[in-house]
Amino acid sequence: MNSYRKDFPIFEGNNVCYFDNAATSQRPKEVFEAMEKFNNECNANPLRGLYDWSVRATEAYENARHTVATFIGAKRDCEIVFTRNTTESLNLVAYSYGLSKIHEGDEIVISIMEHHSNQLPWRMVAEKTGAKIVWLECTKEGKITEEEYKSKITDRTKIVAITQVSNVLGITNPVRAIADYAHSKGAVVVVDGAQSTPHMPVNVQDMGADFFAFSGHKLMAPMGIGALYGRIELLDEMPPFLTGGEMIESVSRDSVTYAPVPEKFEAGTVNAMGAVGLEAAIKYIQSIGFDEITETEKRLTERLISKLHELPEVTIYGPTDPDDHCGIVAFNIDGCHPHDVASVLDSEHICIRAGHHCAQPLLQYLGVSSTARASLYFYNTEEEVDRFAEAVSHVRGWMGY
């Protein structure tokens, strides 16, 4: 039995097999305890207060920022902007940096495997500015070749939008190599870290990210807290995304001076308790260590893929090597629609995702309208993998074949 499962209240007293971790993860009690402590000991509006609770709330919030900065290798704490999630982080970059820096005739390179959240904001920018979208294609296994990115990223490229890990194929992209090339052409690199951050050590400086976005809820923090990393030189020059409270230096009838980064980008009362939960989730991850997390996930993924390979009716999408899947296995069962697959597996208390995974251009390229997707985390077990594979082997029978 997996020794971490006892940390997760949701797994107690049931046999639910939760294989939808790429959508959202479960939360250990440490996260709730940290949030409860904030709530019970120092809940107040941070950043403004002149009394003890507010000062402590501000400290808690800023400590969380420091923990996030350290966790993803940012140079300075102020390079971390708290947001609701990856989508909001990427929209912030698109609306603020994109709309102010991109002009007609510029090109925005987007990989075909981007989640809609690192795709639609850029298409909005292109539409509003007259810039051109250029698609970075991958092989059927998800590989973006050197030849491909060197042919698409040019002197006209101003933005390269790339996910570190695909939420459908599970493949890890060569972000560092792409970023180096993009920088040599003067482009800025926006990395979607939603699927990578929960599963592998991330260092935004080493990977060459100019912007990097991730969500808390996929790494065991509560929903509604996420972060954007931006290089300070870029953030400093950007106009605000949202305006209003907490983000100004001074306001008169005739002029506004904005607060410095990161407050400039955190209009309104912030989600301090969520940030505290995110910090606790990061500390929980650090207490286990990515070596252990990665090793468990690889072992489980290898087992899952090898068991699915035994079933001739199953097609698996993505890389051939299970180690390259980051725990994500998109698949289809011959003759069965993924929604039916998910429904019948649900009746076996197995939770998987089915659909287009917010990556429709990728699925169109793969030639499928939707797939089923099992996605693992370190708290899953070999017993669950076996139960899942056994259930999948019965699906065609349940569907009348």
């Binding site: 629609h337 929604h339 039916d340 429904s343 019948v344 659909g355 569907m399 009348g400």
Partner: protein, 178 residues
Amino acid sequence: MELKQLYREIVNEHNLHPSHKKEIAEPTMVLNGVNPSCGDDITLELVIKGDVIEDAAFVGSGCAISQASADMMCDLIIGQSKEKALELADSFMGMIKGTADREQIEELDESAALADISHMPARVKCAVLGWRTMSEMVQEINKDGTVREHNESRCGACSSNGAAVCKPACKGSECCNK
């Protein structure tokens, strides 16, 4: 009904061996209905003479529930008046929402087996796709038999102004409704 039992007893048969999944030689109305989020895609063809739906069939692809529900719907509406077909559609929607009475549910015959879909919010749109499409078609016809005009985009395939209903030749495949 337990989900696997629902599939076993009703859905699988209509999904794998549908009676009405075919093209009609000369339909009087054709409409494409889609659930964009899950890829369910049917093209419903009707032969309406006067006030009566003389024939109904569909082609397309999608999950078993969407396909089986459309097949069972065709069973129910063939030979019915437009008014009755809409009444049945109301009963079906009511059943899914949990507001239909026993009499309405009994009228739905085999389709009544899908009542439990009301407990599966994610599958509701699969079950109602055929019914929704049929309702749109039947209601788009004006009293004088002409297709109601819309201000929405023009259908690229048949050049009709109807956003919801294409001329038969269009087969709905390129319809602006898609």
